[in-house]
């Protein structure tokens, strides 16, 4: 049982969001980089748990990015995983990135591909579904639970106002979110081990980018808060009804 976990490098959640080059590029000046939280806390940790329970034999991590992504992939390896693959390409187009991962997945014969539910920078939520289509296998998105018995996976996913549980025989692509696992902190042994774990660099396969970024912008700032005294909650309700027309 081989698992491929997709790892993406994203700016820290507190990073200042600004743009350069006439608002066409994200300003990386002073930005701290982290493993995309959904990839780390849920997808990777769940994969590690499966291996700890002997349900999986091998975990490979994959990232599509330039050499800058290597510290992030080492951080992920410190949590767990046997080896990592970096596809040496940089792209903001989901289809291009998914094509690279699908290519590696095809050649590696993985039974399970885990992604996070989205990256916290581009919020695309698209990579998992695209990989599944390129491999022509099932895709369960926004999973909150994942259990495995032999080759039968029982997966719970979010639906509007509830949850749905399904069964699917491997192989499958799963996007993960809260509920799947609990965040872990890497320990010293893991950090030491990560240094010597194999990190293979492969060149990208031929693939098209279907979209491009024309530019970025920031939302307009709020006008400022209107404060209502604590002893006059009725006034707040009146304002919400008459002025904001929100209730």
């Amino acid at each position: 049982m081989k698992i491929l976990v997709c790892i993406s490098k994203t700016p820290d959640t507190t990073a200042k969001i600004a743009f350069t080059d006439n608002n066409t590029k994200f300003d990386t000046n002073g930005v701290q980089w982290i493993i995309n939280p959904y990839d780390e806390w849920y997808a990777l940790v769940r994969a590690i748990e499966l291996k700890e329970k002997d349900a999986a034999t091998t975990i490979h991590l994959i990232t599509v990015g330039s050499a800058d992504a290597e510290p992030i992939i080492r951080k992920a390896l410190a949590l767990g995983g046997d080896e990592a693959i970096r596809v040496n390409a940089e792209s903001h187009d989901s289809f291009y990135v998914a094509s690279q991962i699908a290519e590696v997945a095809k050649q590696g014969g993985y039974d399970l591909v885990f992604t996070g539910k989205e990256t916290i920078d581009y919020n695309g939520s698209s990579i998992g579904g695209m990989i599944a289509e390129l491999l022509d296998i099932p895709y369960i998105s926004l999973a909150t639970k994942f259990e495995l018995a032999g080759t039968l996976a029982t997966i719970t996913r979010e639906i509007e106002g509830g949850e749905e549980t399904c069964e699917v025989t491997l192989p499958v692509v799963v996007s993960s979110q809260k509920g799947m696992a609990e965040q872990r902190i890497p320990n010293m042994r893991g950090i030491m081990a990560a240094r010597t774990k194999p990190l293979k660099v492969v060149e990208p396969a031929a693939a098209d980018a279907l979209t491009s970024v024309a530019g970025f912008g920031l939302p307009p700032a709020k006008a400022g808060v209107k404060l209502v005294p604590a002893d006059n909650v009725e006034e707040l309700v009146r304002l919400l009804h008459e002025e904001a027309k929100a209730i």
Partner: protein, 320 residues
């Protein structure tokens, strides 16, 4: 050539509110491109399909068989791809809701059609095809140009107003092949009677300021009075005071209701990231320095335990 809209239905077959937004949005794009809006709906449907014409869809392709009653993105994608081909769709619109997030990327890969997920505005077609979407969890937006002949857009829930006019849609049975799926749905749980968080117009959310799970009764009471959904901050869900699916923010669910009421939440940057697209934000916090006030439209500095019951009473009075 047409604009094809995926009409998403819930497990019981009713058309989701997010689909009405997608139809209104798709119809407007069709008008922009001087073409017609058509819809595709899968599986059993309760309710009246022709009446969806009032949102601007002219023709609805209904594909109904047993294989489609349960959600399986792989099966659904193949069906929608065939309908897209038959209708010569140039733009395909989804809601960026749970089902849209599963199908739209698959369809994009299948048709090699560029996808913009999380769109918040109509496309700019004056020079190419560029769509505005949220990035950095709502802290910024990006204009994404789609460079392929067929374009796919997944519209964020609550980002486009439902527009109802006149009209009746023609409903036809689509002639497409359906493969059996590999996903077997075994169990569905729905919190009955409550408003789903992502579809809610009003959300009442509370944080660590509420001190403990035993104090949520008054939050639920206020939510019920307002027909609102309930949400919470991350530490509240982490401590299991509230279920995980109420956790909003950068690492929880991103929402954009008309009204977001935040009680006893400090307004950390990660929390704001998931809620800052809300149209009106009300903050109730005993600390006047709480960062949330900077992102708020209305606020009260005071004790939540005193203010919530008064808030509920005042809303009850307003509603008579």
């Amino acid at each position: 050539m047409s604009v094809l809209i995926f009409i998403d239905t819930a497990e019981d077959g009713h058309v989701k509110k997010a689909s009405l937004e997608a139809i209104s949005y798709g119809a407007k794009i069709a008008e922009q491109l001087d073409t017609v809006a058509e819809g595709v709906v899968l599986g059993k449907v309760t309710g009246d399909l022709p009446s969806l014409g009032k949102y601007g869809v002219k023709k609805i392709h209904h594909v109904n068989n047993d294989a489609l009653d349960h959600f399986d993105a792989q099966v659904d994608t193949k069906v929608i791809a065939q309908v897209a081909q038959q209708t010569g769709a140039k733009v395909i619109v989804f809601s960026n809701n749970v089902d849209g997030k599963a199908i739209a990327p698959r369809l994009s890969a299948r048709l090699k059609a560029g996808l913009v997920s999380g769109a918040v505005a109509l496309p700019d077609t004056s020079n190419g095809f560029t769509v505005k979407k949220n990035v950095f969890s709502g802290k910024a937006f990006a204009n994404i140009t789609v460079n392929t002949d067929i374009k796919i857009i997944a519209l964020n829930p609550n980002a486009y107003q439902v527009v109802a006019g006149e009209g009746t849609a023609e409903v036809v049975t689509a002639n497409v092949a359906t493969e059996p799926g590999r996903v077997k749905v075994t169990h569905v749980t729905k919190s009955s009677g409550e408003v789903p968080l992502t579809e809610a117009e009003i959300v009442v959310s509370a944080g660590r300021g509420l001190k403990g799970p035993e104090n949520w009764g008054m939050v639920e009471e206020l939510a019920k009075t307002l027909h609102a959904a309930t949400a919470c901050s991350r530490p509240v869900a982490d401590a299991h005071w509230r279920p995980h699916n109420e956790h909003v923010g950068q690492t929880g669910i991103a929402i954009a209701p008309n009204l977001y009421i935040a009680i006893g939440i400090s307004g950390a940057i990660q929390h704001l990231a998931g809620v800052n697209r809300s149209k009106v934000i009300v903050v109730i916090n005993k600390d006047p320095e709480a960062p949330f006030f900077k992102a708020a439209d209305y606020g009260i500095v005071g004790d939540a335990f005193e203010i919530i019951p008064k808030f509920t009473a005042a809303v009850k009075q307003l509603k008579g």
